[in-house]
């Protein structure tokens, strides 16, 4: 499989008044053509910052080191002009909050056509035809009228469809979706997930889906990366991760969720404690203080990511002993 995006030892640090804080630490992963990879983690795990850094969208006090190779070219070293030619064209990003991602004073049609005119040099007429075509595939009713409206006239689900349409106009090689359905109601979420499914079946784009919802990952992704405290703790094919999670954090996550398909007449198996403070990460494993199986070594020595099988990796001392 051709690699579209390869992150190598990516580290993201932010300068704060309390010193430098690492949001992402030494992360390496790759996404192949036609593949959908799920990035799972809680708030503060570094899942969003990883990809904002790759896209050159970090806040002013943030700095990324390492490499983010998009088809062999390092996005972190690219100059602004070159990056602008790729973003919105070959690499697209969909955000959680579609309300603030669209320009409020521009008609939806104009916003969509602008992309094709800027990146592809299409004439307005050609651009319009392509916009209609993509909007139709998004199952947006009454398209002609919709194109003359402004973002505030759209519902949340409709705006998210426009965002996806926008990302697909140029048939990108890489699509990054950051919590694309989190702000939506379940019935609308189901519609949007269906669109993603169709998208996966019909294009060869690599898709990165950043989410906290393991249900969404189960339905859509081929591979899963679990992050905790700014590091990858486990990676593997989706079926394996759900069937036989290896890292205690992944196991805990899967166990602590109430499930619609299983009735439990007892307390949930909650993970005790709080997610770690990135400003003050422990010396050993970041998960050690919440881990029921932690031993002395876990608190003193940080586990490294090790290969468990050709397709699976995890960072845990306990797996070494076994």
């Amino acid at each position: 499989m051709e690699t579209v995006l390869a992150l190598q030892h990516l580290t993201v640090r932010f300068d704060t008044k309390d010193g430098s804080v690492a949001a992402v630490n030494d992360l390496s992963l790759s996404v192949g053509r036609g593949e959908c990879i799920g990035i799972v983690g809680e708030s503060g795990s570094g899942k969003s910052q990883t990809f904002l850094a790759s896209m050159g969208l970090l806040a002013g006090n943030g700095k990324a080191t390492g490499r983010a190779l998009f088809r062999g070219h390092d996005l972190l070293k690219m100059n602004r002009d070159h990056l602008d030619k790729l973003r919105g064209n070959r690499v697209c990003m969909i955000f959680q909050d579609s309300g603030t991602s669209l320009t409020p004073h521009m008609r939806i049609g104009d916003q969509l056509m602008e992309i094709l005119i800027a990146h592809k040099g299409h004439t307005p007429d050609v651009a319009r035809k392509r916009v209609l075509e993509v909007m139709e595939s998004m199952r947006i009713p009454d398209i002609e009228k919709r194109l003359t409206q402004y973002p505030h006239e759209f519902s949340g689900g409709m705006r998210q469809r426009v965002m996806i349409a926008m990302a697909l106009l140029c048939e990108p090689d890489l699509l990054i979706a950051d919590e694309p359905t989190t702000a939506l109601d379940v019935t609308v979420q189901a519609q949007i997930l269906n669109l993603f499914r169709a998208l996966k079946a019909h294009t060869k784009s690599a898709i990165v889906l950043i989410t906290h919802d393991l249900g969404v990952v189960a339905g859509l992704c081929d591979r899963v990366v679990v992050m905790y405290g700014g590091r990858m703790v486990e990676e593997g094919p989706v079926a394996d991760i759900f069937a036989t999670p290896k890292h205690p954090y992944t196991q805990g996550l899967l166990r602590c969720m109430p499930r619609l398909d299983q009735l439990l007449d007892a307390d949930l198996d909650a993970i005790p404690g709080q997610p770690p403070n990135l400003e003050n990460l422990p010396k050993g494993c970041a998960f050690a203080e919440r881990c029921s199986q932690a031993n002395e070594r876990c608190t003193t020595e940080r586990p490294v990511l090790r290969e468990l099988s050709p397709t699976r990796r995890a960072a845990c001392h306990l797996l070494e002993a076994a």
């Binding site: 109601d185 379940v186 249900g215 339905g219 996550l253 619609l260 307390d267 993970i271």
Partner: protein, 328 residues
């Protein structure tokens, strides 16, 4: 679990909305809650589910008289709360409490934890001594899983999950009989959600609390609630005990809602037959004629456009509002 402590009858909350221009200015009612009736038994947890804009939060607040209902009755222990004066209602509030979704913004940032929890104590009993209040504060902090040593800290020093524990302690300190929880775990991370759900479940059992648990997350509702009410555009679609509702949802909306929840199991999630609804929730300013759900209902027929379905009550107490549920 037999005598209802709370009886809500035909509750309506309509908000006046100004519309039109200068010449044709008029006020239209936005029917946020439109004729909802239900009971809550002592020690029961009633789940209220629905999508955003279905009126579930408004319903919770109207029950507590934080929003004055337009019509209908809220009967608490035999007394209609809608008729009470402001002062009498204030006294009643020690029985009826509320926990909000956003834990940080519902706590006063300039008060310490102890002060936050003390406020309701002094508000209902001004004669309470400092020592007595302190003992109660320490006891309730322990009960919700906070260390009493943290009493002098401010909300910003706590994480979201801990703030939600403070909010629960504030609601619990008056030993209420009913708590309305409005999306209490939606803003929390998955691993913290489980802790708060366990806490609510334990408190509910230990203190024999009645809960009205408002949520959009059906998995959480299934885990926590005894009975579930499904709302759509301010009206009740279906209400049943937890097991019958999830085993065999009868209303097309309930069916769609349940089937839309992603299951964290790749094999099941990829093979399940989902009912995908088309379109979005209609504007509550201009609800569809007849059955409010008919514009998105896969089973709608002409009769649904003409007449709003009456609520039918089945033998086991299950209620449903649909013309066609028998034939689905």
């Amino acid at each position: 679990m037999s005598t209802p402590v709370l009886k809500v009858e035909n509750l309506k909350v309509h908000f006046p909305i100004k519309s039109g221009g200068f010449l044709n200015a008029r006020t239209l009612p936005l029917k946020a809650v439109d004729g909802v009736s239900f009971n809550v038994d002592a020690g029961e947890c009633l789940g209220v589910v629905g999508e955003s804009g279905c009126g579930k939060s408004t319903l919770g607040r109207a029950v507590l008289q934080l929003i004055k209902p337009t019509a209908g009755k809220v009967v608490w222990m035999g007394e209609n709360l809608c008729d009470l004066s402001h002062e009498t209602m204030r006294q009643k509030r020690s029985d009826l409490q509320l926990v909000f979704q956003d834990p940080l913004s519902s706590l006063n940032p300039r008060l310490t934890v102890a002060e936050i929890i003390r406020e309701p104590l002094y508000a209902t009993d001004a004669s309470m001594t400092r020592e007595e209040a302190d003992t109660r504060i320490a006891a309730i902090m322990t009960a919700v899983g906070l260390l009493p040593e943290m009493r002098n800290r401010y909300p910003h020093e706590f994480s979201g999950g801990q703030c939600q524990r403070i909010a629960i302690a504030r609601a619990m300190v008056l030993r209420p009989k009913l708590i309305v929880c409005d999306e209490p775990v939606s803003a929390l991370d998955v691993s913290i959600q489980a802790q708060i759900i366990n806490l609510l479940r334990r408190l509910q059992k230990e203190y024999g609390l009645s809960l009205i648990f408002i949520s959009h997350d059906l998995s959480v509702v299934r885990h926590l609630c005894h009975r579930v009410m499904v709302l759509y555009l301010g009206r009740m679609m279906e209400m049943a005990d937890r097991d019958s509702l999830f085993a065999k949802p009868l209303h097309p909306y309930t069916q769609a809602l349940i089937s839309a929840v992603p299951i964290p199991d790749p094999a099941k999630e990829r093979t399940k037959e989902a009912v995908i609804l088309s379109g979005d929730l209609p504007s509550p300013m201009n609800p569809p004629s007849g059955c409010v759900f008919r514009t998105r209902c896969p089973k709608a027929t002409p009769v649904c456009i003409k007449d709003a379905p009456a609520i039918e009550t089945l033998d086991n107490g299950r209620q449903i509002a649909c013309h066609h549920w028998r034939t689905l």
